[in-house]
């Protein structure tokens, strides 16, 4: 599941506070400071590497990275584009 992969990366690699269970799909990552600039930068690189997608600059907007669900939606849309 894409959401779990993203969540694990945020918790394990970006060392976000709390457990992956507590980081719900709709938890506000940007508003609550879970993702800072470095974290977001690393997350984008991770998405590209893990899911084989390329995130365009114009896609770097809060609507795409506000929550785990938003990020998963972006990845799914981009994977659909690829296939």
């Amino acid at each position: 599941m894409i959401e779990n992969t993203i969540r694990s990366f945020i918790v394990d690699e970006l060392n976000a506070n709390g457990s992956s269970e507590r980081l719900a799909d709709d938890y506000p990552l940007l508003d609550r400071g879970v993702l800072d600039s470095l974290g977001l930068f690393q997350l984008v690189n991770f998405l590209e590497d893990e899911f084989g997608v390329e995130v365009q600059d114009e896609e770097l907007i809060p609507q795409n990275f506000g929550t785990v669900r938003d990020i998963a939606r972006l990845v799914q849309a981009k994977r659909a584009d690829v296939t």
Partner: protein
């Protein structure tokens, strides 16, 4: 010719360190040399990165220099023109000027140690410089720390870092990559999180690939990735394969964690800095000892 040299002797570690200015064209380069107290076995030049990564890797390169000097090697570090403590203008820095400064620093090491250059180390963008110098001087060994494989990719990441920082800064409006490129073309420079990328450097590097700088690689090449993403692995394996096809014995090192650049390092336990510090320095030292002479280890 050099000016203003100062020397510190460290008898406990059997080395001395010399800081000085020497000349590249009409500008003073700042140099720092790590020398063994006895006769040096071989000369090694370290080519640093620039901009945000200059400071990020500084201490690691310093420690590598010290460790190698204690093992009997003469090691030269330096600041390129337009960077750090050296003279010159940042706006005039290009891949060619970086290469010229590295050659000057290599010559300075040869003058002071009485030894030809045997190995070159390059970190990040310094890998491009090191690869060029290694090819030009015909050294024995080339060490590439987290090398930038593709100039275009480097600038893409830099612009992305700026866009992301703007995104999270409520007082800034994120600019697109195209807008940043236009700013670079129109104004001759663009700001990326406090670091200025000048058009001269951009144009000299954006179409360059490291693999193309390694047409005549040295007999021994060590590539040390920082981090293990698939993209990075693939690009480094490609470089390693190219060097091997051209006759080099290539080793691929491993440093588990990525080094975050531009955006800095997190302050927390087990931070990337502490990981990459020892993971990069010690295996590199061991590899150099193996390649350039095991007997140096027993000094």
């Amino acid at each position: 010719m050099s000016v203003g040299g100062v020397t510190r002797t460290d008898t406990e570690n059997s080395l001395r360190e010399e800081a000085e200015f020497f000349w590249s064209g009409d500008q003073a380069l700042f140099g720092f040399r790590h020398m063994p107290l006895g006769r040096a076995r071989a000369g090694i030049l370290i080519c640093s990165p620039i901009l945000a990564e200059f400071g990020l890797h500084y201490r690691r390169e310093f420690v590598l220099g010290r460790r190698l000097a204690a093992d009997g090697f003469a090691v030269q570090r330096f600041h390129y023109r337009g960077t750090g403590n050296s003279g010159g203008e940042a706006a005039e820095v290009s891949l060619a000027s970086l290469q010229e400064d590295a050659l000057t620093a290599g010559r300075r090491l040869a003058e002071t140690s009485g030894l030809p250059l045997s190995a070159v180390v390059g970190t990040r963008l310094g890998a491009f410089v090191a690869a060029r110098v290694a090819g030009q001087l015909g050294v024995e060994a080339l060490i590439l720390w987290a090398p930038i494989a593709d100039g275009a990719h480097q600038f893409r990441e830099a612009f992305r870092a700026r866009i992301i920082a703007d995104l999270l800064n409520t007082t800034s409006t994120p600019q697109s990559r195209d807008a940043l490129s236009e700013e670079l073309a129109d104004r001759g420079r663009v700001n990326v999180l406090g670091y200025t990328i000048h058009r001269t450097l951009y144009e000299s590097l954006v179409h360059r690939k490291l693999e193309e700088e390694l047409k005549s690689p040295p007999p021994f090449v060590l590539i040390v990735p920082f981090g293990d993403t698939t993209q990075r692995k693939t690009s480094y394996e490609k470089i390693a394969d190219a060097c091997a096809r051209r006759g080099s014995a290539v080793a691929l090192g491993s440093v588990a964690r990525d080094e975050p650049w531009w955006l800095g390092e997190r302050e927390q336990e087990g931070s990337v800095g502490s990981h990459t510090f020892t993971e990069a320095v010690e295996p590199t030292r061991d590899w150099i000892l193996e390649v350039l002479g095991e007997e140096a280890k027993s000094r």
